[in-house]
Amino acid sequence: MNLWLIPLLPLAGALLNGLFGRRFSRAGVTAVALGFPGAAFAWSLWVAAQFARLPAAAIPYSETLAAWMQAGAFRVNFAFYLDQLSLVMILVVTGVGFLIHVYSVGYMAHEGGYYRFFSYLNLFLFFMLTLVLADNYLLMFVGWEGVGLASYLLIGFWFQKDSASAAGKKAFIVNRIGDFGFLLGMFLMVKTFGSLSFGEVFPAAANLGVEGSAGVLTAIALLLLLGACGKSAQIPLHVWLPDAMEGPTPVSALIHAATMVTAGVYMVARSSPIYSRAPEALMVVAIVGCLTALFAATIGMAQNDIKRVLAYSTISQLGYMFLACGVAAYSAAIFHLMTHAFFKALLFLGAGSVIHALSGEQDMRHMGGLRRKVPWTFATMTVATLAIAGTPLFSGFFSKDEILWKAYSSPQGSPVFWAVALFTTLLTSFYMFRLWFMTFFGERRTPAGDHTHEDHVHESPPVMLVPLVILAVLSAVGGYVGVPHALGGHNSFAQFLAPVFATGEEVAVHVADAGLERLLTFLSVLAAVLGFAFAWVLYCKRPELPERITAALGGLYYAVANKYFVDEGYQAVFVRPVVEGSTEILWRGIDVGLIDDSVNQAAAGARGISGAVRKMQSGNLRSYAGWVAAGAAAVLAYMFWVGTR
């Protein structure tokens, strides 16, 4: 099926634009930038068609290109692996990715470094596709690191801005911590299974005796979870994602909402055979996801930057996905991953369109009343908001309810998870409608004395709007692939994915209690409506209320608005000691005191000795001759002594 074409096409685009883009015209760069991802998307569709015709026995389909390394019995190949999971992933990545590329053509039209941007973006697609298509953990790790690199490059795309380059570095460094866990996990895997290939690791994990191996599997799972937390911005490694909003908005949409950050979810889902054998780890996953969802949602309520709201929303939604994974509802997680990719990409792109319309304004307090000025953006954003809030019949409703239901009903689930998730639903609805109201309703609140933007508010060009509309349609109807039985559907998405997760423990527990499921669904809709109502009251009906409430809440609000001081805490607990330690011990103590000083002492010694020996180098020819004569006499005398001895 020539799977290798899918990642290689964007790589070709990246290389073409990266190496020669400076000499291309803008149209040329655009053609390359859109052509290769478009071709990759088309090829993915073709692959999907081929896949549909494969017999069940031929799945997972694997393709080995070349041997990478071999050490004893251990070997790693350049190989690609296609099953239902990776098929969904490549379709999401190339599809959404292609749409965002199209959008970027409009969004970046007036920016410098046009070719550079698309080169990076294509490079990202290459690594992301490598990640999801990899046949083994090591190749996956290559993609994993590569998307980190692309993310770093794109966050710091406007590298002249200090904050942008700092954000890029932060993302990179925080991800290193996660990668550390991933690497350790891989080492442990090599030690335990002697292989990194999915096809060998999973059966081996499944066949491992529970008594002797639970600890090892739990360790591997937790280490992988650390990696996933880094990549997917879960507590405690979530701090980089909000800062990553420094990058251009299409980047936020593609990398930090739709695709890269879901890599952690994908990885956990991919490793489901391991997780399913490590219930403790699974529990940790669920707790992390649950906490992150709640925690990020609360912060999201208090943010004023439109992209930051969306960033925390992303973290929160990723928390949902982790929660789903944690209750062994992997297909629900992937389902939500897909719908989230649609509506969150749409939200970011819509936000980008708003920012674009306001010539760079990101603060929601300076927005308002835009629904007439940017009608298309408003309409599509409305769809997305409804979808994320869980409005019935929109995609988010089906995927989120699937997770809520599983959190309640799964053997690993519990009512506590469900309750937290339900509360988070309320919060989600609240902060999303808050954004919606603040941006599109009421009157324009320009900062005092600033009237420059007033007349320039304009709707985005068609090249940006078309992806918005397509994504809006997908956000609206994307959920119908997974309508649960309780609502009269067949849950076909879960059935499609079932073979992937069936290798682990049988998780498709069918709770016949459709009534209970319907009740829970009603409750979650109620929560969403409540959130909407709060938002309507606070930000549309009585806009003066929020100030009074925040004033009343005082310290709590302060904490939330400042993200619970996590960054400051990390600064104090990790960064400061490291910096101080590096400064005092490593720099002043070891480098300056020991290394530099020893070098200096050596130099001083050399100078001292030279000062003594220098007297020999008088520059006087005859003195040199004297030394030469003495040397010759000495050599001759020695030879004479040796000869006569």
């Binding site: 520059g619 006087n620 020819l621 005859r622 001759a625 004297g626 004569a629």
Partner: protein, 100 residues
């Protein structure tokens, strides 16, 4: 018949005087001549050994020494001229700095 050692001793004496000249003379040109004296002493030894061993290679070697001496004289005297032009002296004791 003259013992070959006589020639060799003469060669050693001449060589020693060449070295001595290099040490005591205070004119660069004379120093150069001392070097030539040493080379001549070596040549004498070559020829003497050639006679002793009945091997003509010694003679050939003398030619090479002469060629080297000629090349050295050409370059060396050019250097001496250049030095004299910049420092107005031929005394090696006064030419012991690398700068002017």
């Amino acid at each position: 018949m003259v013992p070959i050692s006589y020639y060799l001793v003469l060669s050693a004496i001449l060589f020693g005087m060449g070295v001595l000249g290099f040490l005591v003379k205070r004119n660069v040109i004379t120093l150069f001549m001392s070097i030539e004296l040493m080379l001549n002493a070596v040549n004498l030894a070559f020829v003497a050994f050639a006679t002793q061993w009945n091997a003509l290679s010694g003679h050939v070697f003398v030619f090479f020494v002469m060629v080297v001496a000629a090349a050295e004289a050409a370059v060396g005297l050019a250097i001496i001229i250049a030095v004299y032009r910049t420092r107005q002296t031929l005394n090696p004791d006064r030419v012991d700095l690398l700068k002017l």
